[in-house]
Structures are given as structure tokens and as C-alpha cells.
Amino acid sequence: MWSTVPAFSSRRSRSARRSCIFSLPALAVTLPVGLPWLGTHLRLDALSAFFLVVVDLGALSASLFALGYGEHEEAPERVLPFYPAFLAAMTLVVLADDAFTFLVSWEFMSLTSWALVMSHHRLLDNLRAGFVYLVMASFGTLTLLLGFGLLAGPDGLYTFAQMRAAHPGATLAALALVLALIGAGSKAGLVPLHAWLPLAHPAAPSHVSALMSGVMTKVAVYGFVRIVFDLAGAPAWWWSIVVLGFAGMTTVMGVLYALMQHDLKRLLAYHTVENIGIIFIGLGLALAFKAHGMMFAAALAFCAALLHVFNHSLFKSLLFFGAGAVLTATGERDMEHLGGLIHRMPQTAFVFLVGCAAISALPPLNGFVSEWLTFQAILLSPQLPSWGLKLMVPAVGALLALSAALAAACFVKAYGVTFLGRPRSPAALGATETDRFSLAAMILLALLCLFVGILPGLFIDALAPVSAAVIGERMPAQIGGQWFSIVPIAASRSSYDGLLVFLFMLASGGLAAFAIHRLASDRLRRAPAWDCGYPDASPATQYTAMSFAQPIRRVFGSVVFRAREHAEMPPPGDTSPARLTVALSDPIWDWLYAPLAVGIGFAADRLNRLQFLTIRQFLAFVFSALVALLLVLAIWS
């Protein structure tokens, strides 16, 4: 049954020259299960191979983490059965080569993850989260179903090969793009379809949260790439406008939402939204370049997006593991009750710091590389002919820069409030270092983050076959240039060498340390904090997450979230504490989801009256139906 079919034709022989896992010929297999007369088509080509690596790397680390984390699980019987099914489903989505298999695995993925979200079902929030999640997921699936129905045509040509061969017309392809953007976007968490994500991801057990945030959203990205880049045929120039618009909004909204959070896991979930935005910016650019035949640039943008997919899966899993370790150690998700954990869980604190630095795009870690590549792609876009893009792309670039800066701010807050400072609750005071399995998983990921950061060339070259397959062009080979610098286009234009920067920093920092300790004093004395002469203030006087975000809230939040601060001052002489209440409103929920729910409730109420009619009135229905049909007959002839 196994047979090898040739991978997409790559116009460059160089992709064949340097062989890597992604440049193997595609494997295809058809199993006689699933939709009869169609069977289950599975295919492993460069694209799916890459995402398979992402999925399984995430699965590996999550399972490793779970070895230790599972000890603290109170309802393992609600987690263990679904966890492997979840992994299997994600793998199948990536391997599927026909619409039915794809959608079955896609929806099964949602279903199993829903079960995992519901594993702590006694909390009302989790119930709500599970509900919203499943409904949104099914919405996405049904949208994709429509899209595939479109591509498959009336006589049901469901295999991807047939769809590719069908060459859909312009309007058809455009419709497919919109449906794919909605369907895959709702799963990936594109604003405004992200509503379920910050509810569902935190509700699940932490290793599952890591999988959902780090891996499942990437599977959604895969779905989008597969449909739009592979099946839907040649893109039109305005596609990228749509994609970039949503992507830009997603990026900034995601990080702004995150800044307003003080629940650690929810904050991370919102950052997933932000990073999905960054990935989609890359994809949007790739579409734009591809539509205008600038294949090099397209390859660059596409590689940037894929590299960010990989990076985000690394550090987001790492961060969720860290949050999980904190959760098991303190039983707290609310940062306002944490603090000072760096003293009690030093190793966790260290790897979590690596994750924070990586996601904040700080060199020499991996997050920076992919964002740097995205910026390079943006800088290529003035050569685009269409005016819409000329105006769109720089704006998107500004949004990207803004979100990068805000993300750094947000993780200063997350790390500073959670791990630094003084403990804000007995739980935080009594925390202990997490178990070795969890640590192993986190250290593994942290090392990978650093490794990708300092040797990005290896990974870019590994991605070349993928972009060669999907875009039809690849980035120039990186390894073999001077040292390990990466050169997207030309050395004179731009280059970056993570390794050198890393060594450079090590050297200068070490040099300074050495010089000072050797030549000057290395004496040290512990004393109470100076704090401008306010001695031994209580931990309550520290900055909290909310207060840390206050300046940014005043700058952005007042516009986006209609943030209102209300201070109640006790009258002079009254010793009761003053309180500051902050009112935030979620614009997207208020303007999109709430009206929808209200509408459905209204309709349900109205129709529900039909349950309470008399038999005579029901007869009247029958009667009027009969008369109506007879009238139709009378008129129809």
C-alpha cells in the first residue's frame, strides 16, 4: 500500500543538494477506512513533515512534563484517556490528504481537547470555557467544511490531489480563502475569533494548555497554509490585504489583552493570540509577494512565518510548563498572590526567564530571529506595485514593532510580579521547587530556544525545502556564509549572527565581571532595602500586576478597553483604606459575541411560545400549511 509520490517540483536543484528531513520525497498511503469509496488518504510532504516535527516535539516535551505534573492531577481518569487521542488527532490533521480525513481529525482534535478542558469540570468557569470552545471549534470546522465543499465541487472530489488539479476560478478561490481564514483562524485564535482561546487554554491541565497553545494553534496555521497556499491556487493581490489586516489587529489586540491580565495562564494564552498574529503577518506578506511573482521575498516571508511557528511552539510550551510548575507549587494562577518565587524555585525561575526573554524577542534568543526575518520581509515590500499594499505594509510593520515592545513590557510584568519581589501570599511563601521531570522538559525547551537563537542558519536551511515546495522558491543557503550569520538577501543589505552576538556578550560581560572582581572590591553586605528610606514596608506595598500595567493602561487601555479607574478616598481622619477600582470592558466580546448570544436567546424565547399553544392552534398550522401548498400548486402551473 505504501508508495512514494514525487514531492512538489522545486525549481531549485539546491534544495536537493543539501538534504534534510524535509527534503525527502513525499510518502503517501491510502487506508480503506473512513469515507467509503474515498478511503483515508495520508501523505507526508515537506510542509506536513515540518508541522509534524512541531507537533511531535511539543508532544514529547509535554509528555515529559506530564510525567511529573500528573502526580498532582486530581482527576487523572479524565485526562489520561483523551491525551493520547488528542496527540493522535493533531498528527492526523497534519498527515491528512483528503478533505474528509482532514476534517474528521480536525474536529476530533477539538473534541478531545474539549474533553481535556472539561477535565476539571466542577469549576463553573471551566464549564463555560468548554462550552464556548466547543461551539467556536465546531463553527470553524463547519466553515472549513463549506470551504472544502467549494473546492471539491458538486460531485465530491474530496482528495487534495483532485482539488489541486481542479484549479478553482478566481471567485471560487477567493471564497475559499475567506472560509479558510475564518475556519482556520477561529482555531488559531485570530481576533475577533479568539474569544474561546483565553478561556479554554488556561482551563486545561497545564501540559495540555501548552499543547493547545503551542501546538494546536500551529496545526490551525497548517490548515490555513495547506488550503490557501496549496489547494486554492494562485493568490490574488488583495488576499494579502485581508490577511494582513486581521493579522495586524490580532497582534496588537492580543498583547494589549495580555497586559490587562493578572491570571498567569490567561496572560500566556493572550500572548498566543499575539504570536499567531505575527505568524499570519508573515503569511500575509508571503501571499502578497507570491501574488506579484516576487518569489524570493515570498520565500523569505514564508520562512519567517514558519520559523516563528517553530519558535513559538518552543517558548510557549516552556512558559506554560513554568506556569504549571508555579500552579502545582502554590495552587495559584493569580499573579497578585505570587511573588518571590525565584528564591524558592530557582531552576524554574531561570528557565522561565529564558522563555520570557525569548518571547520578548530579545537577542540572542530565537524569538528575535523570526521577528527580525519578518521585519526584513517587510522592508522588501516597497517594491510591491499595488497601492493598497504600499500603505498597508508599513502600518503593519508599525503594529508589529509596537506589539514587540508591548510584549517585552508584558513579560517584565509577568516575570517580575510572579518570580521577583517579595511573596504576596502564604502559598507563594511556602512554594518549593518542582519535580525533575517537569524541570527536564523545561530545560530541554530552554536549550532549544537558545540553540535556534544562536544557530538560526541551520533551521532556515532546513525550512528551505518546505518553502521550495509551497512557494516554489527558497531562501539562499545560510550555512557556509562567514561564521554562522544569516543573510536573507545580501550581506550588504542585512545580516545577523546570533552566535557572535552571544559570544560577544559573554565575553564583554565576563570581562567586566573579571576586571571588577579582580581589580576592585568584591565585598558584599546584606542590609534592609533602602527604598528611599521607607524601612520594612509590607509586601503589599510592592507593585502588583495591575499597578504595573497602569501607565500602559492609561495610554492604550482607555481607548481600547474603555478602562476607567475609580478611587475611593476615605474622608480625612478616617483610617479605613482607600480603594482603587479599575473597570475594563472587552470590546470584541461586547460588540460581537454578546449581541449574538442575546439574539439567539431572543429568537429562542420567541419560538418557545410555540410549545404552549392549544391543539386547535396547532391544527391551524397544519391547515395553513395545507392551504399554502395548495395555493402554491394553483399558482405554480
Partner: protein, 479 residues
């Protein structure tokens, strides 16, 4: 041998009914009930191996073969479930022995009526059989003799009778249309003849006839706006009957509709029945989907979901074409199995919590894992989530429709989504969350429920080629 099988399908239930009416002892009757249904199932299965020549009254072909097997099978499993269920009802004294006796007799009569309706090769005979089935179910719905039960039975009775009357008028019209071509007498009511000669019938008469048949049998199918009897009948009757109603009787009525649809399809000049069915289907789907939100009674909830799915099936058959018809058949089969499984679960849940009010039950997966997860699995299946069978049929319906009539597909998807949300909203409060309500003891029989769900799961993953070929053949017949 084969003809015996056909008669067996009819005679066994009839004889069993007579016997059960005579026997006083509950256990014996319950067992006998199971035995009878088993025998019927065997006869039905043996129909595969030898098939009688269509007589002027009875007929077995691929189309009703599907239905017969399905009916007898669900009848069989339901009888197993009903044994344990009715036992519990006796214990808590909701039913007295005479009523149980009556119940079992009626159960077999119902089986007989449905089988007769399915194998009838004569539109008049079919009509009589369906009327008989209706009357039987009316009596069983009212069996608890509570306000609600009687009132539900009464409502069902009145609406059902009107439906019957309309269907009869339609039947007469078909005869009138056939007579000039076929000639007077019995032949003008025989399917096989009618379908052969339909080309020459008077189209105008056929149109009017179909309108009446659609509304008449549509009432039995439970299509909105003719559905009114259905929720109450499901909610107030004994749960096995709810299972049979949802799982079988609706199908039988739908089968009648399909027959007449084929008749119209065979006549080029007559109006295309598709649009009418599509419209009614969509209306039922969307309407029922919205009705799910305000349900307080668990059995009414799933009764409405039955309306929803009948809508989908009617829609699929209305769309026509090999894919949609295949999907319709598949969906019908899957829905029968799943919905009856759900009612099996609900029957025991209602006994455990001794109420049907959703507000008084919660956290079932915590307190009664088997029932809770069984129900959850059933809901997952009925909501059309993979890898269970209904997803496959919904996939086929939606994808094949969108390419042909995008707007319809969008309405369909909207209805599906609203329905799914409604179901899971309720499932959340029934199966998850903090446990609520009483925990009475019950000796439940889980086998039927899980047998059904296993079949649904298997169908979703792998369908045997023979079955596929058969369905495809039937789909071809339906045109």
C-alpha cells in the same frame, strides 16, 4: 423458506401480541417480548438470503429491506432495555401489572404495524398499517394516566388523526391518477405497478396527491410546523416508547414519503418534490434547533433534537443526487441508533434522579460515570462530531449541497451550529459540574445503549463495502 421469512416478520409479532395479552406474569411477558423481537430480527435478517417475489400486497426490495432490518434491530434492543426499565417502573409502582401486560401486547402490535407498513406493496395497506401504528403509540403514550400523559396522548391522537385523513386523501388521489392508466381495481394501488407506469399518470393529480401525502405523513415524521404532537408524546410516554417513536416510527412515515417521492420522480411532468421537502426540512431543522434552548425536560429536549434530525434527513432526500441520498440513508440509520441509545440512557437517568427536569440533575459523569459518559457520547454523536457516524452524513450533505446551492448549505450549517450549541449547553449541566439531584438505585441494562453507540462509532470509522454498495444502490433507486 424466504417467503416464510417475510410472513415471519409479520406473524411473529402478531402472535406474540396475542400471547402477551393473555399472559399475566410480568417476567415471562418481558422475556417473551425479547424472544419475539429476536425471532422477528432473525426473520428480517434472513430476508437477505432469499427474497420473495413481490405480491400484490407484500413487497421486499432494497429500500424497505434497509428499513426492516433497522426496525427489527432497534425493536430488539429496545425490548431488552424495556425489560429492565419496566421492571423498575413496576417496583416504584408507576405501572400496575395489567398495564404492563397491555404495554407488552401493544409493543408487539406496534412492531407488527411498522413491519406491515414497511413490507406493504399496496398504498392502501400501508396507510392502514401506519394508522394502526399511530393508534398503538397513542395508547402507549397515555399509559401512565397522568394529566400530562393523557393530554399528550389526546393531542397526538387528534393531530395524528388529521394527518391520517390527509394521507388517505392523498392515497385516493394517487389511485385516481393511476386508474386511467393502470385500470380499475387492486393493481392501481400496487407499488411495483405504480412505479412502472407512473410516467403516464396525470401530473396535476399527482401534485395534489403529493401535497396531501407530504402533510399527512409529514405529520408522522414530525416536520415543523406539523410537529406539535411529537415532543409531548416523547416526554410523557414510557421511555422505551420514546426510543421506538424517535428511532422507528418517524422513519416508517419517512419511508412512506420516500415511496411517493419516487413515484413523482418517475413522472417527468409532475412537480419536483425536492424543493418542498428541502423547505420543510430546513424549517424543521432551524426551528427545532432554537427550541432546544428553553427545554427544561430532558426527554422533550431530545424529542426536539429528533425533529431537527428528521429535518436534516428530509433535506438530504429533498436535495437528491447520489451523495445526498446516501447521506440521507446513512443519517437516518445513524440517527435511529443514536437517538434510541440516548433514550436508553435517559430512561435510566430519569429513574436514577426520579425526575425528568434537567434542573434537578447534574454532574452525572461524577456520580454515575457509565450513564453520564454514555449520554455524553450519545450527545457527541447526535451533534455530529467525529469520529461517529453522523459526522460522515453531515459532511456529505453539507459539502455536496454547498457546491450546488450555497445559500441552503449556509442555512443548514447555521441550524446545525445552533442545535449543537443548544445540546451542549444542556449536556454541560446534566453530565458535568457539581452533582445535583437524588441518586436512587436502578438495575440498568447498559448493553443496548453501548451496542448502538458501538455501531455508530464503527460506521463512522469503517463501513463494510457490502453495506456501502447496498446504500449506494438504494440511493440510486431514490434518484
Amino acid at each position: 423458506m424466504s417467503f416464510d421469512a417475510l410472513t415471519g416478520v409479520l406473524v411473529v409479532p402478531a402472535a406474540a401480541a396475542a400471547l402477551l395479552a393473555a399472559l399475566p406474569d410480568y417476567r415471562a411477558t418481558a422475556r417473551l417480548n425479547v424472544v419475539a423481537t429476536t425471532l422477528t430480527l432473525i426473520c428480517a435478517l434472513s430476508l437477505f438470503f432469499g427474497r420473495p417475489q413481490p405480491g400484490s400486497y407484500l413487497l421486499v426490495d432494497d429500500l424497505n429491506g434497509t428499513f426492516i432490518v433497522l426496525t427489527t434491530f432497534v425493536g430488539f434492543t429496545t425490548s431488552i432495555f424495556s425489560a429492565s426499565y419496566i421492571g423498575h417502573e413496576l417496583e416504584i409502582g408507576r405501572l400496575t401489572p395489567p398495564f404492563v401486560r397491555f404495554y407488552h401486547a401493544m409493543y408487539q402490535v406496534l412492531m407488527f404495524a411498522m413491519n406491515l407498513a414497511l413490507v406493504a406493496n399496496n398504498i392502501g395497506l400501508m396507510w392502514v398499517a401506519i394508522e394502526l401504528a399511530t393508534l398503538t403509540t397513542v395508547l402507549m403514550v397515555g399509559i401512565y394516566r397522568t394529566h400530562e400523559a393523557l393530554e399528550a396522548a389526546w393531542k397526538y391522537f387528534i393531530l395524528g388523526s388529521v394527518g391520517i385523513a390527509l394521507a388517505l386523501f392523498g392515497t385516493i388521489l394517487v389511485y385516481m391518477a393511476a386508474r386511467p392508466v393502470v385500470g380499475e381495481g387492486l393493481d392501481a394501488m400496487v407499488w411495483t405497478v405504480l412505479v412502472k407506469r407512473a410516467g403516464g399518470f396525470d401530473p396535476a393529480l399527482l401534485d395534489v396527491a403529493f401535497v396531501f401525502l407530504l402533510l399527512g405523513y409529514g405529520t408522522k415524521v414530525g416536520l415543523a410546523p406539523l410537529h406539535a404532537w411529537l415532543p409531548d408524546a416523547h416526554a410523557e410516554g414510557p421511555t422505551p416508547i420514546s426510543a421506538v417513536l424517535s428511532g422507528l416510527l418517524l422513519n416508517v412515515a419517512l419511508y412512506a414519503l420516500l415511496r411517493f417521492k419516487m413515484l413523482l420522480a418517475a413522472n417527468p411532468a409532475a412537480l419536483a418534490p425536492g424543493p418542498l421537502m428541502v423547505t420543510l426540512g430546513l424549517v424543521s431543522l432551524v426551528f427545532a434547533a432554537f427550541m432546544l434552548y428553553r427545554r427544561r425536560d430532558i426527554k422533550r429536549l431530545f424529542a426536539y433534537s429528533s425533529i431537527e434530525h428528521m429535518g436534516i434527513i428530509t433535506f438530504a432526500f429533498g436535495m437528491g443526487g447520489p451523495l445526498a441520498n446516501f447521506a440521507g440513508l446513512l443519517h437516518m440509520t445513524m440517527h435511529s441508533l443514536t437517538k434510541s441509545a440516548i433514550f436508553f440512557a435517559i430512561g435510566h437517568i430519569a429513574q436514577v434522579k426520579n425526575t425528568q427536569r434537567i434542573a434537578d440533575m447534574g454532574g452525572l459523569t461524577q456520580t454515575h460515570p457509565v450513564l453520564g459518559w454514555g449520554l455524553a457520547l450519545g450527545v457527541v454523536a447526535i451533534a455530529g462530531l467525529p469520529p461517529l457516524g453522523i459526522f460522515m452524513s453531515e459532511f456529505l450533505v453539507v459539502s455536496s449541497t454547498f457546491a450546488r446551492a450555497p445559500l441552503l448549505a449556509i442555512i443548514l450549517v447555521f441550524g446545525l451550529l445552533v442545535g449543537l450549541a443548544g445540546l451542549f449547553l444542556r449536556l454541560n449541566s446534566i453530565a458535568f459540574g457539581e452533582p445535583r439531584g437524588s441518586n436512587a438505585e436502578t438495575h440498568a441494562s447498559y448493553a443496548p445503549m453501548f451496542a448502538h453507540l458501538a455501531l455508530v462509532l464503527a460506521a463512522g470509522i469503517y463501513m463494510p463495502p457490502a453495506l456501502v454498495a447496498w446504500f449506494q444502490n438504494v440511493a440510486g433507486l431514490l434518484g
